[in-house]
Subunit: 357 residues, 2 copies
């Protein structure tokens, strides 16, 4: 795998790629907004500028924040919008086919937050953030899952924003079977906390208890009185709430927080498909005062100075098999739209990934 054939070295290959045809201000994006097209990419070394590489995509990370780059407006995450008619990009794993940067050789496996959702492409080498040792014994998709955005987001929430989390804390995690939730719950358990999660199906309730070690969990589609559910699962109140959904669940949590509770805000998926004025308002923020509660939003990109600490801890957990990962792998670049939409329908378990090659 570390070398490409002589024939490929000057080939022109067909590459399928997804581009933003129209912004989707509301609702889940459809084929009206995201379209697949085929372009031709020359693999000849002299076809690319200095400090560029030609990559082929191996894995693409599907994360809910991508939705916020498709609205055509500021939506609260302030992510830069994809340009119309340009290929969309995401966190991913690629293989270097040709390189005009001496730091990267043919066959290198690399990570970038700017992997185009395409089969082949040319990228400035400064967009690559890490070269992977493919012989380290860690499956490649783990680099965009346990060791990627969701693992890092879980770690920042639990270990940094929660200051770090204290053993014995009563911890609630929403979207608990999602990519961030599965890691956050396991990290909190490793820190000696009692952890309860909410998720969207009975199957996922069972899974997060059995495979991710949650002490308890509930299905928010069947236990629809969130206030009653939280009374039941948190008789001693909530010390830490890692919020992935916002809206009504956040409001319910605020009626159950203990003094000095911490609420790391990781995502608010309940609102991503609505303009902000149509989102559910949280009416009981006064509780933050009465209980001395800290609520803090975070973008993982703002904590890159801690990435080394995170990677060291998580790689150690991985090697000691203390962290389980559940991946939902879609095969083929053509599955991008389907896999993106699946993030918003409670249908997935764990980390959603596209295996391109």
């Amino acid at each position: 795998m570390s070398e490409i054939s002589e024939k490929m070295r000057s080939a022109v290959v067909e590459s399928r790629e997804w581009y933003m045809a129209a912004y989707a201000p509301e609702g889940v994006p459809t084929s009206d907004h995201l379209k697949l097209r085929t372009v031709k990419i020359s693999l000849a070394l002299d076809s690319i500028p200095e400090q560029h590489v030609i990559l082929e995509t191996l894995f693409i990370s599907l994360d809910p924040y991508l939705r916020s780059r498709m609205t055509g407006r500021e939506d609260g995450l302030y992510s830069p919008q994809y340009n119309l008619n340009e290929v969309v990009s995401a966190f991913g794993v690629g293989r270097v086919l040709r390189s005009r940067d001496s730091n990267y050789g043919e066959g290198d496996i690399v990570i970038s937050p700017f992997i185009p959702v395409a089969e082949y492409f040319v990228l400035p080498s400064q967009a690559l953030i890490r070269k992977i040792d493919a012989d380290a014994g860690i499956p490649l998709p783990e680099y965009i899952s346990t060791l990627g955005i969701p693992g890092f987001a879980a770690w920042v929430g639990i270990q940094v924003v929660a200051e770090p989390i204290k053993p014995g804390s009563n911890v609630f995690i929403s979207a608990a079977a999602g990519a961030v939730g599965m890691y956050a719950g396991q990290l909190a358990k490793l820190k000696g906390c009692r952890v309860v999660g909410s998720t969207g199906s009975d199957e996922k309730v069972r899974l997060i208890k059995e495979e991710f070690g949650y002490d308890d969990a509930f299905n928010y589609h069947t236990e629809t009185d969130y206030d009653a559910a939280l009374s039941k699962y948190f008789p001693n109140g909530i010390d830490v709430y890692l919020d992935n959904v916002g809206g009504e669940m956040l409001e319910a949590v605020l009626n159950h927080v203990n003094q000095h509770a911490k609420i790391p805000l990781c995502g608010m998926i309940s609102g991503y498909n609505k303009v902000w004025t149509e989102r559910e308002g949280v009416r009981n923020l006064l509780n933050l005062i009465g209980k001395d509660v800290k609520m803090q939003g975070f973008m993982v990109g703002s904590y890159l100075d801690r990435f080394g600490d995170f990677a060291k801890e998580m790689e150690s957990h991985l090697k000691e098999r203390k962290i389980n990962s559940k991946l939902k792998i879609y095969n083929g670049i053509d599955k991008f739209l389907e896999s993106l939409r699946s993030l918003f329908t409670s249908s997935n378990i764990g980390k959603v990934v596209i295996q391109v090659k």
Copy 2:
């Protein structure tokens, strides 16, 4: 003033006191809820138990949080409710008339968070938190204003919750002519910030600029498009928002926060007279994530370990005349209801106090 007359030593005096006749779940409390009655208090030393004192009230501090003790339900501040038919209490200054605690002598001026809203009363001496040097040159009401709850709340918000505030920060303060606002704005100016406030009348706009040194201010009754107002007054965004009002203004602020902004939540007076489900919901909390914003509620009672640092700094500012105080003094215990109601009508400027004696 330091001794009471021989005749008084065994007198029985009449004392007017306010008691909670009925809870007021919504709206501003009226004479249906708070009533004045006259009781008799013996000033004879042997009429009180050991470790008790007989006080006469000098000044009572009127603070919006008192409202939350009159609802008969949990409202988010979680303050203990006044008992029905019992006298209400507040932060205040009193004079010791008789004492069965060797730490307190007749004539001592004392501070307590549990001063009954009454002319005379018997109190356990452990409810007293501080003895004042009446010759220190600081007017007595300042001990419940600059050096009391509002000064301390402003200091905790600016110096602790804002971590502390950084010079050059763009600072917004709501209810800026209120007791907390006037101190918070001045403290932020002393720290080298640019400070803008919102308040409820043109007179108060002028006052906070001229007397409290705010760089700018606006009247939220006339500039009712808060979003437009904040665009105008904060062309470079908001770094710190000390929130005293909550609701619609908080929501508007969240559309103008800069990255890593801090939002100390001190109070949410816009909601105090409503049950929480009727309060205005904040729909754009997602902005906290996109801009890495910390929003943190605080009760001053949770920061008493910092009171010494606060008092030292504020007394120094007071002596150097770097902090101005504006007090609205109501005369006579019979003004309690009127002065309480004034907190919710935009009619007051600065700290509201009752001078009882």
